[in-house]
């Protein structure tokens, strides 16, 4: 089954998404900030990487920059609920410019999320 790396700084949301993916049969690894996420995918290979944008240490755009250079074939889903100071949604557009395959605005429906992951896994 596909291996997924989930990078999200909110513990509860990350746990929930990890549970949802695990219930679908995916193998999930978790990272609670961008730096930890980069360290993880540099050691291990994943089919899909799901990352938030606004995180401590390294943000999702930093994750995308590193990933595109080192593993351009890995599929990515970038999720965001907007920025604390406004302007969050345009970062999803930046993420697409940085090479994100799909983006989702939080909060999303489980079906919506799973369908996005499934389409990345199968592509």
């Amino acid at each position: 089954m596909a291996k997924i790396l989930l990078i999200e700084d909110d513990d509860k949301l990350r746990k929930m998404l990890a549970m949802l993916l695990t219930m679908e049969g995916y193998t999930v690894s978790e990272a609670d900030n961008g730096r930890q996420g980069i360290n993880t995918f540099e050691k291990e290979t994943f089919d899909v990487i799901i990352t938030d944008i606004f995180m401590p240490e390294e943000d999702g755009l930093g994750v995308m920059r590193t990933l595109v250079k080192s593993q351009p074939d890995v599929k990515t889903l970038v999720i965001s609920g907007g920025a604390r100071m406004g302007g969050g949604m345009q970062y999803l557009e930046f993420a697409r410019l940085f090479g994100a395959n799909l983006t989702l605005v939080k909060p999303f429906e489980n079906d919506e999320f799973l369908a996005a992951v499934a389409s990345l896994v199968s592509s």
Binding site: D10, L13, M16, G81, G82, G86, P107, E109, N110
Partner: protein, 374 residues
């Protein structure tokens, strides 16, 4: 001048009297000699001489008094003239000071008004920034709620209470999501799709949608200019503005109420522009007016605040006008309101023509001949 004239006259009079006195003295001398001839007493001669001097003194005193009275009268006249002149000057100066005072008071009122507008604008911007933060946190929390509720819903049998309960949680979370989206569009109306288009056609589209949402007792009319009003706008957002303002207006209407949407060119002067945080110059003014209950003056400053509502709980989110504020701000314009209790309200949306001018300028690669200042 008068004093000198009177003094000269006095001196003439005295000289004349002295000369006359000499004549008299000579005559008296002659007489005395004659009296001597008649052997009259010398005493009489001295008495006559003394009376002559008394006469001279009396004439001199009279002349002096006459001169003093004239001088006094002249001085009084002079003083009265000066007083009148002074009064005139005081009246003139007082009038000037009053005019300056009125001007100063007007300027102070205007400044106070502008300061209040500026403060209101800054407050809304601060609230917008705060709203951005709230949106981010709420979206994450809602994500958790929707995620777990969705899992419970999927895992439970359709007949099971957990299924129904999770449906309710999901429903509430979806409504919250919608609310947060509205708040987000106030905080940061960024998903903008601006195109150069005729404001008239955007307003007509908005009015068509609004008409469908209004109760049949409310009549909606439009007053749009024949000359095209091209603008760089996000049509969906402007329609949203029309809907929010129109639906708000309909809530203030009694039966047979009227709503009118009008459009006209307008100018924004520098003080207003500074207070509103926009550029001065040519604008288009879209007005949504109603014949409703109006807005109480004491709440007029709060109506654009997020979550401010006068509607009963559950009847309005209090975000409608905040969304309007956010959208118009993203179009570099501003919203003004003018309301009289029991007579109705007018919401004036001002959109700068500068955007379309610069856009046309860029498109044509040089100065353009299009006159948008009609």
């Amino acid at each position: 001048m008068i004093r000198q004239a009177v003094t000269i006259l006095g001196l003439f009079a005295i000289s004349f009297v002295i000369a006359a006195e000499f004549e008299l003295f000579e005559s008296l001398y002659e007489l005395t000699r004659e009296y001597e001839a008649y052997q009259l007493d010398e005493f009489f001669s001295l008495a006559i001489l003394f009376s002559g001097f008394m006469l001279i003194y009396s004439i001199y005193t009279n002349v002096y008094l006459f001169q003093a009275i004239w001088l006094r009268k002249a001085a009084e006249q002079n003083l009265s003239d000066l007083n009148r002149e002074l009064e005139k000057r005081v009246i003139k100066r007082t009038a000037q000071l009053n005019a300056v005072n009125v001007q100063l008071r007007n300027e102070m009122d205007e400044r106070a008004k502008m300061n209040a507008l500026l403060a209101q604008n800054q407050k809304l911007e601060t609230v917008g920034t705060m709203a951005g933060g709230i949106c981010h946190d709420f979206n994450t929390l809602l994500g958790i709620i929707m995620g777990y509720a969705g899992m419970i819903n999927t895992a439970s049998e359709k007949a099971a209470p957990a299924h129904t309960m999770s449906e309710e949680i999901l429903d509430a979370a979806r409504r919250s999501k919608k609310l947060i989206n509205q708040l987000s569009s106030f905080a940061n109306p960024e998903k903008s799709d601006k195109k150069v288009q005729s404001l008239q056609s955007v307003i007509q589209d908005g009015a068509r949608l609004l008409n469908a949402a209004l109760p049949p007792t409310v009549s909606l009319s439009q007053d749009l200019p024949d000359t095209p009003c091209p603008m760089l706008v996000d049509a969906d957002q402007i329609i949203q503005v029309i809907l929010n303002l129109g639906i708000n207006a309909s809530h203030a209407l009694e039966e047979d109420g009227r709503i009118q949407i009008s459009l006209e060119p307008d100018e924004v002067d520098l003080p207003t522009a500074q207070a509103k945080g926009v550029e001065s110059g040519a604008y288009f003014k879209m007005t949504v007016s109603d014949t409703g209950l109006g807005i109480a003056p004491e709440i007029l400053n709060n109506i654009f605040d997020p979550f401010f509502t006068t509607k009963e709980v559950g009847q309005g989110s209090g975000l409608g006008l905040s969304v309007v504020f956010g959208i118009i701000k993203s179009h570099n314009g501003f919203v003004d309101v003018d309301s009289t209790p029991d007579q109705g309200s007018r919401f004036m949306v001002l959109l700068p023509q500068a955007d379309i001018q610069s856009q046309t300028h860029q498109d044509q690669g040089g100065p353009h001949g299009q006159d948008t200042s009609h």
